[in-house]
Symmetry: C2
Subunit: 290 residues, 2 copies
């Protein structure tokens, strides 16, 4: 069975032809321009390839309510041309196949639950920390939507005692995205993260915010696996700092060996490398067919 | 069909005989003593009444993993006699009926989703703020468990700028339970909440913490309904303060009319009055029969 997948991001679109087992046979990446530039190129990639369904993991906010007139749309994004754009519809019309549609981080957690580090987990979360922060949540193999969809990257945090930075989020200031996403690191220190690798204070403060958010996610979701990735987490020296601070912040309150003894196997990088999103999109395609 | 229900709390046990439609025919309340005092009295209440199943909504922490050797036990409670007590097993043996078992707040959200304010909601949360803080979560009619079960009453909060109180939680200090549960109010102000009704600063600070936690819950769970109750919330003057602050803290980021326009119908008291927990226990009994 041939399936198509799209990982639609703010800066690039990853496209793939694969199958229901998560194998990828062909892959392409194009920069994200306005829809009238990007979408025809994306359609061209899939045309004539014989895919039976397409799955899209898309940057948000998106409308995931199947009974809504704007289901499958990107909604209130500031990104030029994409606000209230019928993303799923454009591909459904052009390719004439069923289209599965969900948030990018939801596709990523679905990929990880199906084939990756969270395989067989009842509750799993996928956190991506890059230019923004997103959290995807899977409960018994279903993706959490609810009223809109989780926006847990914007949880309000308490400040690090030595941090006077006002925060980068125009809505909340001291939310996780505002304090810890790539643009916040760059604005706080006046340099990009990759240029700050040798300054331990940078990563102490950064991991403090990430650990605090993960502590609250563990308390809220009770996940069996916490998957953590995104551009900022390529600074992998933060993983041990984050794990240690999560244990300190929980302070022994949650009495599970996964947290108290096996935290190295509890808060982890993706099992699918850089492909949880695109593989999750293939899974969305497969689920839409069923 | 006759069903039994138990709402097992730290200070009292509510017992009921009812049916699969949430009707209650007989109800009793006994104080919570040690198991060897309380449990025989509870068994006596149900004996000879012809119930086909029993449901228990129990104070935590509890073991909800059906494949665990301590499934149905209360686990690490400081309450004398109840630590690692086989609560579900005691009633299964004595009454010889199927026993459904879950956390007290999970029973409450189940009651509300089945018959109350969250009827037909895909994602709903029930927050109780009393001597402790608990949060029950229902996703598509199933209760969220995961690794242990949510303990979202312990989420870490940022302090109110005028509040110097250290916090009552021995684990976390400035978590929701530590800053806003009944014992925290009493320790901060030197009086019980009921005696502080005329001091607006008390309820401004109290509602600040509750609103901050609810803001984070909304971002994490994307609930379609937020049900808020417990002894502290009998100070109903806090509902409008909390709703207003949640809107201010979200700052228009979540663009849903439920939040921006209809918040009076979004953050609400239970639809089942003081009975969501005991009615939810009847539902647990029914689900265990199926």
């Amino acid at each position: 069975m041939l399936l198509g997948g799209i990982e639609a991001g703010g800066t690039k679109m990853v496209l793939a032809i694969g199958d229901e087992n998560g194998n990828i046979f062909e892959k392409a990446t194009i920069p994200t321009d306005t829809p009238d530039v990007s979408v025809p190129k994306m359609i061209e990639f899939f045309q004539g390839k014989g895919i039976e369904a397409l799955g899209i993991g898309c940057f948000g906010p998106v409308d995931l309510h199947k009974d809504s007139p704007t289901y499958g749309y990107i909604t209130t994004t500031p990104k030029p041309g994409w606000s209230f754009y019928d993303f799923a519809g454009a591909f459904r019309k052009a390719l004439n196949v069923p289209v599965g549609f969900d948030l990018d981080v939801n596709a990523a957690v679905l990929g990880e639950v199906t084939w990756g580090a969270a395989k067989d987990c009842g509750v799993a979360i996928y956190i991506t920390i890059g230019t923004g922060v997103g959290v995807g949540v899977s409960v018994d193999g279903k993706l959490l939507h609810g009223l809109i969809h989780p926006e847990a990257g914007h949880v309000i945090l308490t400040r690090h005692p030595e941090d006077t930075y006002k925060g980068h989020c125009p809505f909340h200031g001291n939310c996780l995205e505002g304090m810890a996403a790539g643009p916040a690191v760059e604005e706080r220190w006046g340099k990009k993260g990759v240029e700050l690798q040798d300054n331990p204070k940078v990563w102490e403060i950064e991991s403090y915010y990430i650990a605090q958010a993960i502590t609250n996610y563990i308390l809220c979701y009770s996940p069996e696996k916490v998957i953590l990735w995104g551009g900022v987490m390529h600074q992998e020296q933060m993983f041990p700092l984050i794990r240690k601070q999560v244990q300190e912040m929980l302070a022994g309150y949650l009495n599970s060996p996964m947290i108290t003894e096996h935290i190295d196997d509890y808060i982890v990088a993706p099992g699918l490398g850089d492909e949880p999103g695109i593989k999750g999109a293939l899974r969305l395609a497969y689920q839409e067919l069923l």
